[in-house]
């Protein structure tokens, strides 16, 4: 094999400008592929984080109650019964304590938070606002939603009698940390609560819609003694949430909803993005391959005489073939090494330039070793494939004719 390496390297060096140009072209192509891949990955993760806000990756709720008419099936078919759908009341997740333990032992689940949520009214003076009153246990809830990052005033603690409200609701009611409010629900006359902290989710309607209290006060307000209305999960693999949800559906008798089901339009937008970038990457790779191929075709023509001499001296067809395949692979691999460096630099620079409306970075550049390793291998393979046609042409040259030229 060393004969092939020596000759391939010498031919590339002899190519001079031609070799430099194609390596530069390959570098640019690979750099853009690396950039797009890193950029899209980070952008999507970030977009999901922003869009989902404090939504969990998977939510477990009691199954909906269904009204079933008590009739024999044949009669039902003949009589076309009109069945009114049942109004869904607030119920607890059955056996949620033991379910919590089972979920803790499930691989892929990162954090679990029980929630007791229901409708309620916030009152201060003459002002009434309808809200959803969320009963949470702070530590697991933070683990699932990173809610603590959203606190803009006061702090994230929920002792009995404490409440967390959104910035816009706080403005509407004219309250700040330390002020008192009254929370009531259809099932409870309610009680006075002290504002402990103020959060900002970045979306006004959400900032007006939710108030947070401890789990026990919420259970009392919603008449769910000892119960929870839902269990929220965070998963290890964001895009594996639906698969995990499907597995859970088989084992637990409740409704299990992943963020993908809850946000179909977000998922559609993301998958369209993924398809678009796949297309762009594919065509970039194609352009790189065609470039490598055409440069090698020219090289074979330029080196016809040398190939003839090598064949006459005793180089087999296989060796000539491998000399040119190797040149393709070397161009691909060196372009990939340089392209990965440039791609990473580009990603780092762009993450500084591209910022979202609130001035934070749209995405953060991260060095993913697998991305770069795969790119390197794929680029070498791409160069090799691009070299197949010219290499075969070189190997098929008739030495007697090649020398005569």
């Amino acid at each position: 094999m060393r004969f092939e390496w020596i000759v391939a390297l010498r031919f590339l060096r002899e190519g001079g400008m031609q070799t430099l140009m194609i390596v530069a072209g390959t570098t640019i192509g690979i750099a853009v592929i690396v950039f797009i891949t890193a950029f899209l990955g980070d952008l999507q993760r970030d977009l999901i984080k922003r869009t989902l806000g404090v939504q969990a990756h998977i939510v477990i709720r009691p199954a909906e109650e269904v009204a079933r008419p008590l009739r024999d099936p044949p009669a039902a078919a003949a009589a076309l019964p009109q069945v009114q759908a049942r109004a869904q009341r607030l119920r607890s997740v059955d056996q949620w304590q033991s379910l919590l333990q089972a979920l803790e032992a499930t691989p892929g689940v990162r954090a679990i938070s029980p929630i007791a949520a229901g409708p309620g009214i916030v009152t201060r003076g003459d002002s009434n606002k309808t809200v959803t009153i969320m009963g949470i246990v702070p530590a697991p809830y933070i683990a699932v939603t990173r809610f603590n990052e959203k606190i803009v005033a006061g702090d994230m603690r929920l002792d009995p009698g404490d409440v967390l409200i959104g910035t816009d609701l706080a403005k509407d009611l004219g309250v700040g940390p330390g002020d008192k409010l009254r929370l009531s629900t259809p099932t409870s006359p309610g009680d006075a609560y002290q504002v402990r902290g103020i959060y900002d989710l970045g979306i006004r309607n959400l900032n007006r819609a939710y108030v947070y209290v401890g789990l026990a006060p919420a259970q009392a307000l919603h008449a769910l003694p000892g119960g929870v209305s839902s269990i929220e999960l965070a998963v290890e693999d964001l895009f594996g949430a639906e698969n995990l949800a499907r597995r859970l559906r088989r084992t637990i008798p409740h409704e299990v909803e992943s963020w993908m089901q809850a946000n179909p339009q977000l998922l559609a937008a993301l998958s369209n993005q993924t398809v678009m970038t796949l297309l762009i990457r594919f065509f970039l790779a194609l352009v790189v391959a065609i470039g490598v191929s055409s440069v090698l075709v020219v090289a074979v023509v330029q080196k016809t005489k040398e190939i003839g001499i090598l064949r006459a001296m005793g180089a087999s067809r296989g060796r000539i073939l491998r000399v040119f395949l190797l040149q393709g692979a070397l161009i691909g691999a060196s372009g990939a090494v340089l392209g990965c460096l440039c791609g990473y630099t580009l990603t780092a620079v762009m993450s500084n330039i591209l910022r979202s409306s609130d001035g934070t970075r749209l995405f953060t550049a991260r060095l993913e070793p697998e991305l770069y390793l795969y790119t390197l291998l794929a680029a070498a393979a791409l160069g090799l494939i691009a070299a197949v046609m010219p290499a075969r042409r070189a190997a098929r040259l008739d030495p007697a004719q090649a020398i005569r030229i």
């Binding site: 010498r10 001296m313 067809r317 296989g318």
Partner: protein, 235 residues
């Protein structure tokens, strides 16, 4: 009598076989070349000299006839076997030097060894240095071919042809592009290796002066041998 190196019997070559423009360029050639011979092929342009040399050099296949290389029928062998036979038994010197510009003079001489052994070795280097010294180019070994004169390039090519001590060197007008002085030098070198190493040479030439100095002159005209005799002049 020494053993015969190549035996051609009734060799024919037709270009564009099975087409309307089919043309037979060699009509039943019979030649035997023995080990250590120093022979030349002469004849006017288009008489089939180069074609015959390419057939003997395993670069083309005859359309009919039999070819024994060192007693082995070679014309039916596969491409890899013929390639190996070229590497081990034959050396080539062409009219237009044909050194590889990407390699230095010394490396050009080492190329056949690289092909045989798969790597550059110290032994190849020593052997190549010796050969370059023998052709009087010990000082030019690190120069690229394009910095050498035509005569020097041809001397490097001869050193390269001899790198693996082949039994037969085929030379297609090796002096065709050189001035008289360089041509004499190159010819003398081939004669020198023929005598010291016992390598057989078969050269194609247009130069009657050089032909007269070969041991044997084979004359080709219109694809047939018209004379094959020991040279009149002593070597």
């Amino acid at each position: 009598m020494t053993a015969s190196l190549i035996e051609l019997a009734d060799i024919r070559k037709t270009y564009n076989e099975n087409t309307a423009v089919a043309e037979e360029v060699l009509h039943g050639i019979n030649i035997t070349v023995r080990e250590g011979e120093f022979a030349c092929l002469i004849g006017p342009s288009g008489s089939g000299k180069s074609t015959l040399l390419n057939l003997i050099g395993l670069l083309e296949r005859p359309s009919a006839g039999s070819y024994l290389l060192k007693g082995r029928a070679i014309q039916e062998a596969g491409d890899d076997e013929r390639t190996r036979a070229r590497l081990e038994t034959l050396g080539f010197v062409f009219q237009f030097h044909h050194l590889l510009p990407a390699f230095s003079a010394l490396e050009n001489v080492m190329l056949p060894g690289l092909m045989r052994d798969g790597a550059f070795t110290r032994q190849q280097r020593a052997n190549a240095q010796q050969l370059l010294a023998a052709v009087g180019l010990a000082d030019a070994r690190d120069k690229p071919p394009n910095q050498l004169s035509g005569g020097m390039q041809q001397r490097v090519a001869i050193a390269r042809a001899l790198a693996l001590a082949p039994a037969l060197v085929l030379a297609d007008e090796p002096t065709g592009n050189l001035d008289t002085h360089s041509a004499d030098e190159v010819f003398a070198l081939m004669r020198h290796f023929n005598q010291t190493k016992g390598t057989a040479f078969l050269l194609v030439t247009h130069d009657p002066r050089l032909a007269a100095r070969c041991d044997r002159v084979i004359e080709l005209r219109d694809g047939s041998i018209v004379s094959d005799a020991a040279s009149a002049a002593p070597a």
